[in-house]
């Protein structure tokens, strides 16, 4: 077993990271929260150039995938940079359409998603009823409990999220174009849901890493009692624990990307989601009151951590899945 990234994989992650590092992401997030998706879309267009969106789409439809590990590495970077928009949902929609193996549907939607020209949001049975960023996405897909895949007509009213950059809405019930129906849809939705969970886990990891990095920097610079607060043991220990949480979530995310069974994916989501939420609590506490203001860019990650922890599988749902996936050993 060689449980390490290849050079190509590391290079890809670095490319995405440096692209996002030089892009002005925080203003795009704030604009997104205000309902102006322009700067966010421009960011997506630049991301498309790295091939990120093509990783979820098979070669037959202008993609290069599916490559879950590379995709996960990319999503860690999306989280680290705080990129807004239905990134997870777009990839999961691509997976759904790929799994359906309906030539006409695949041709109609996949090339655009692979190129990043189109984006999608989607709701699945058992997931949240709220569609993310339906007002900004090109397509709003819904799968009903009865296994009907539809392209929603119109967008529901935007409901505020505790993360203003996540724009939620209830897709209009029924109606819209019926794209497919039946057990194949339900099966494809199950796989898409698992990918959504995996990529959200990866995003959580990136969010947690960004929170930790910013907080470490702050703790070195902020002085109280004439000394950097990072020299206080209480501060050091919280930061050390945050690193522990994240470093032990990372291998679970990689493993789930390599072997995306329900149990592995749930374990990754559980660990990464909890690690990033705890990182947020630590970041807030160690920044003190400035951390509690929306002006500081830190808030963009702080506010993401909790919704992402719960999106596409709450910790409780993930724990249940982990246990379900274990086959009892016979004695």
């Amino acid at each position: 077993m060689r449980f390490l990234l290849t050079d190509e994989q590391s290079d890809f992650a670095r490319t995405v990271r440096s692209l996002l590092g030089s892009a002005r992401v925080p203003p795009a997030v704030r604009a997104w929260a205000d309902g102006d998706a322009g700067p966010g879309r421009a960011l997506w267009a630049r991301l498309a150039e790295t091939g990120l969106f093509a990783l979820a789409v098979p070669e037959a439809y202008e993609g290069v995938g599916p490559l879950p590990l590379e995709l996960s590495l990319g999503f860690v970077e999306l989280g680290r940079a705080g990129v807004p928009g239905p990134v997870v949902e777009s990839a999961a929609a691509a997976v759904l359409l790929t799994e359906l193996a309906d030539e006409a549907l695949a041709k109609r939607f996949l090339p655009g998603l692979a190129q990043g020209e189109a984006s999608a949001t989607l709701t699945l049975p058992g997931g949240s009823p709220y569609a993310l960023d339906a007002d900004a996405a090109t397509y709003c897909f819904t799968v009903s409990a009865a296994g009907e895949l539809r392209l929603a007509a119109g967008r529901g009213k935007v409901l505020g999220s505790t993360d203003p950059a996540r724009r939620l809405s209830l897709p209009p019930a029924g109606g819209g174009e019926l794209l497919a129906a039946g057990p194949a849809v339900a099966r494809a939705a199950e796989v898409a849901g698992r990918w959504a969970r995996l990529l959200t886990a990866a995003q959580c990891l990136g969010v947690g890493e960004a929170l930790l990095a910013r907080t470490v920097e702050y703790a070195k610079q902020r002085t109280q009692f004439g000394t950097p607060i990072g020299s206080f043991q209480a501060v050091k220990h919280r930061l050390a624990d945050t690193l522990l949480d994240l470093e032990f979530a990372r291998p679970l995310v990689w493993a789930a990307a390599l072997s995306p069974g329900p149990g592995e994916v749930a374990a990754a989501k559980l660990a990464a989601g909890e690690a990033s939420y705890r990182a947020a609590m630590t970041a807030l506490q160690l920044h003190g009151a400035v951390g509690y203001t929306e002006e500081l860019d830190l808030s963009l990650w702080l506010r993401k951590a909790r919704p992402l922890r719960d999106a596409w599988g709450t910790p409780s749902a993930c724990r249940a899945e982990v246990l379900r996936s274990l086959t009892p050993r016979r004695r």
Partner: protein, 381 residues
């Protein structure tokens, strides 16, 4: 030791409950962290005051009922259980008023307290500065002597609701040449609309605009607004921080009511097969009871003439952690709806997150507990 109240305390409870039942607004007021909500809450303060429920523990001459601590605690229980609005006057009532009772002169008390009780004047706390949070004594805002008073200059920050409040109280460096930072500080009250004051709102984590920073440029404060002796500001301020950390800022009634609402939520949408969540709801109930009993033990000590010092740090750490745990449990019960910003639990959750930061961070409180209550050696600071 006993767990029941006397008949006259219970009679007081009934009187409070009846009044609250008749007067608490049927629908929740808008958030007191917004301009609209602030105004609505100010009206509510006036309503409370009209029937002398705004400051029940104060002497009657200032608008109170002169009740003892036991009755105050019972009133708080009823207040929060009735779902009554948050107190927009709380910084004045909980922080400035005790300072005035202990350190101000009769003229100041007569001038300041009645308008505080009625909500006519709402007070903001102007202690923190950008460079001086946990290390408050390092503050650099100045009070310079002038004819008939003082001129305040410098910057204060993170002042809760100062964007909409009327007046503020804070400590200022009046003698820059003392050997220790805790010396040479003076405690003053000033008008947030006085010439030289600029109030800049800062959006909180949820974007609500009532937080503010204050820029002070030679703001004149007459001598009559100095509390206690000039130069004694630190001692005066510290004599009242116990109120902030201890039971007056966060009375058990608040948590009893919140735990009650949580149990209601559990019954409405808890999944009986989810043992972990059920356990956390139970923990919230037990935690509220523990805090209630801990408080009654302290109140009994007060009544017996004892004082409580560093023990208030125990309160602070307990309630702030408890508050977060309770609200996180509610969010977990709500599932996908937890994310909705307009939900009933979203703002209280966001507010709970600040608990371990304000009123002295929990790291600082743990140091106080370790050093003063456990007698451990003082760390490097």
């Amino acid at each position: 030791m006993e767990l029941t109240h006397t008949a006259d305390v219970e009679a007081f409870r009934t009187e409070a409950r009846d009044w609250l039942r008749a007067h608490v607004p049927a629908r929740p007021l808008p958030s007191l962290e917004t301009a609209e909500g602030f105004a609505a809450h100010r009206e509510w303060e006036a309503r409370l005051h009209a029937d002398r429920w705004s400051v029940v523990s104060w002497p009657e001459e200032y608008g109170g009922r002169g009740v003892d601590l036991a009755r105050w605690l019972v009133f708080e229980e009823e207040y929060w259980a009735a779902g009554a609005p948050g107190r927009v006057s709380q910084n004045g009532i909980n922080l400035l008023a005790p300072t005035l009772f202990d350190h101000a002169n009769a003229e100041q008390r007569a001038r300041v307290l009645p308008s505080m009780a009625s909500g006519e004047v709402i007070w903001a706390q102007a202690w923190s500065e950008p460079g001086s949070g946990s290390d408050l004594a390092s503050l650099t805002s100045r009070a310079v002597r002038t004819e008939g008073g003082w001129l305040l200059s410098g910057q204060k920050t993170w002042s809760s609701r100062a964007a909409f409040a009327d007046r503020a109280f804070g400590i200022f460096r009046s003698d820059p040449d003392t050997p220790k930072p805790h010396q040479g500080l003076t405690y003053l009250m000033f008008d947030l609309r006085a010439p030289g004051v600029t109030v800049r709102p800062i959006g909180r984590l949820d974007g609500k605009p009532a937080f503010a920073e204050l820029f002070l440029d030679e703001v004149f404060v007459p001598d009559q607004d100095v509390i206690g002796e000039p130069g004694q500001g630190w001692r005066i301020a510290m004599s009242t921080t116990g109120n902030e950390r201890g039971l007056t800022l966060r009375s058990p009634g608040r948590f009893l009511a919140a735990a009650d609402r949580l149990v209601g939520l559990w019954h409405a949408q808890g999944d009986p097969s989810d043992g972990a969540l059920r356990d956390r709801v139970a923990d919230a109930v037990v935690g509220a009871r523990a805090y209630e009993l801990f408080t009654w033990a302290n109140a009994s000590r007060f009544a017996a003439g004892e004082t409580i010092g560093a023990e208030s740090s125990l309160n602070k750490v307990f309630w702030s952690q408890y508050d977060i745990a309770l609200h996180e449990t509610a969010l977990d019960l709500l599932g996908a709806d937890a994310e909705l910003a307009e939900g009933e639990w979203a703002e209280p959750w966001v507010f709970s997150l600040a608990g371990p930061i304000y009123a002295g961070t929990n790291e600082i409180q743990r140091d106080i507990i370790a050093e003063r209550l456990l007698g451990l050696p003082k760390g490097r600071r």
